[in-house]
Each structure stands twice: as structure tokens, then as C-alpha cells.
């Protein structure tokens, strides 16, 4: 069964629902639009941080 976690956006503080999260997953905050990375999962605590990402159009 899918497990849903609740975390808060480190940028705007909004609540974010995460279904079966995994570390390194990227989610977008629906309030402020910031791309966030799941950096830690500790029991029922989820730590999110702003994702530092590159464009998508790299190498060949």
C-alpha cells in the first residue's frame, strides 16, 4: 500500500504531500513552484532542500 508523508517546503513553508518518497527524488512545491530534492528520510520525517539542477539538454 502507498505510504503518504507530509513535509514542508523549505522556501515558502507550504505543506507538501509525498507518496512513497525516495532519497534524491525531485518534487515541485505547488505553492511557490520551487523544485525540491528529498535529501533525507528518517522514520516519518522527510527533509526537503532546494534542488540545484542543470538544464536537461546535456551531452550525447
Amino acid at each position: 500500500m502507498a505510504q503518504v508523508f507530509i513535509a514542508s517546503c523549505p522556501v515558502c513553508g507550504a505543506e507538501i504531500n509525498l507518496t512513497d518518497p525516495v532519497v534524491r527524488e525531485v518534487v515541485e512545491c505547488s505553492d511557490c513552484g520551487t523544485e525540491l530534492e528529498v535529501v533525507e528520510i528518517n522514520n516519518d520525517k522527510i527533509v526537503l532542500a532546494e534542488a540545484e539542477l542543470e538544464g536537461e539538454d546535456w551531452g550525447q
Binding site: 525516495v22 534524491r24 527524488e25 525531485v26 518534487v27 530534492e37 534542488a51 540545484e52 539542477l53 542543470e54 538544464g55 536537461e56 539538454d57 546535456w58 551531452g59 550525447q60
Partner: protein, 272 residues
Amino acid sequence: MFIVVKLGGKVIDQALAQVINDLSSLVNEHEFVIVHGGGKQVTEQAERMGVKQKFIVSPSGFRSRYTDEETIKIYQMVVGGLINKKIVLELAKQGIKAVGLTGLDGFLLKAKRKKKVKSVVGNKVLIVEGGYTGKINHVNKEILEILLKEGYLPVIAALALGEENEPLNVDGDRAAANIASALSADALLILTDVEGIKDAKGRFIKEIRGCEIEPVLKEVGYGMKKKVLAVKEALRGGVLKAIISSGFRSNPVTKALKEENCTVVRNVGENT
């Protein structure tokens, strides 16, 4: 005219002699720079060496090689050593003084390394290390101008120097676009295995203005997406026109320059 020609992997594999033969008939009239990648051959040689190749797909559909430290070395060997010299030798047969370079030589291509990128894995988007891949941010046109002035035809392998002087895998179409921009080329010619761009309904696009290219970008598959992106960058960089054309026909360079059965994107509209 001064023309930057990008040779696709399949063209190099299966149609190189006819392309170079045609090109040699045009060297008195035009000036050329050739740019190439060689992804498919890298995969082949790497697997021959027991190094399994991984690919990542970004959320908007760009598929890229995951280039680890071992793979970038194989990349240097195959693209910089094997494919580059294959083209140089074919030009030599036609009496053309070709000089093969990689973007690592003479600080020709500098790139910003992609540290972290998004990769679609199942139904999730994950962050992965970018590996030895990068996006070109500087072209040292001096070395190319020196060679061109003395009558040498540069053949450039799509490799670039990172900020820590590490070798990086860069996209060949975009490398060609960057070089065409830096040299203010009259045309960027992308010779590939299809006739040109088709829209979402499968209709062939014969001619299009640069300012109309944005919607096309959304309609094409990922193979063509990088080419359209490269075309967009070349035109933004001041190149007069970009041609996407097939290398699999007789006189493929001559016909493309005559704009026969290919897609021509012209630098008119927002840039004029």
C-alpha cells in the same frame, strides 16, 4: 559561403565516402568546417571492452549517455581517435588537407560541467550526478581561423574542456551550432539519416523562419529535438540559415546547399 557541416553517426558509418567525395567538389567554391560526435560507436566499443553503457532520460525527453570516468576515456578514444581520423583519412584521399581536432585541443571548446541532472526512473524524477558531460560556453575561434586561413579544413570531435580542465562529452549538434555562431558561418548544415523536420502530423517542413521554430521544438521526438535546439542556438548566434538534410543520397552536400528536399530554417523574423 562559409559552412559548418555536422556529420551524424549513421552518415559517418554508412555514407562517409559519398559525402566527402561530394564535399571535395565544393572546396574551391566554399569554406568548410566539419563537426562530428559518434555516440553509437562509443556504445559499441565500450561494450566490446565490457563497459556497459547507461542512458538517462530527462523529464522532457532528452536521452543522454551517462558518462562516468571510464566512459569519457572510451569516448576520447572512439570519437577523438577512431571517428575523427576516419573522416580525416577520407578527406586525405580526396587530396584535402584536413586537420582533426577535439574541443580539448588549443582550448577550442570550453564547457560548464553538468553537476546534477534530473533523470526519469519509473514514475519518479530523481537527481543524478551529471558525470563527464557539459554544455559549451566558449569557443576559441582563433585556432580555427588560423587553420582556415592557411587552407586546412578543421574536423572537430565533440569533446570540450571543463572548468577543471577535465574532458567532457558534449552534444555534437550543439557543438556544431556553437562553432557556426562563433565563426559567423553563413550556414549550419546538419547531415543526418532523415530528410528533415516533420511536424506533429507527420508533414514534412520544407522551410521555416527562425522565429517560428519554438512550437516545432514541442512537436518533435527527442532525436530531432536536439537538432532543432541546435538550429535555434545557431540562428540566435547569427548564423544566416540552418539546413537539416539527409546524408543518404547522391551529392548530399550539393543538394542541401541548393535546398533540395530538406528543411531550411532561415534567420528572419525576431533577429532581423
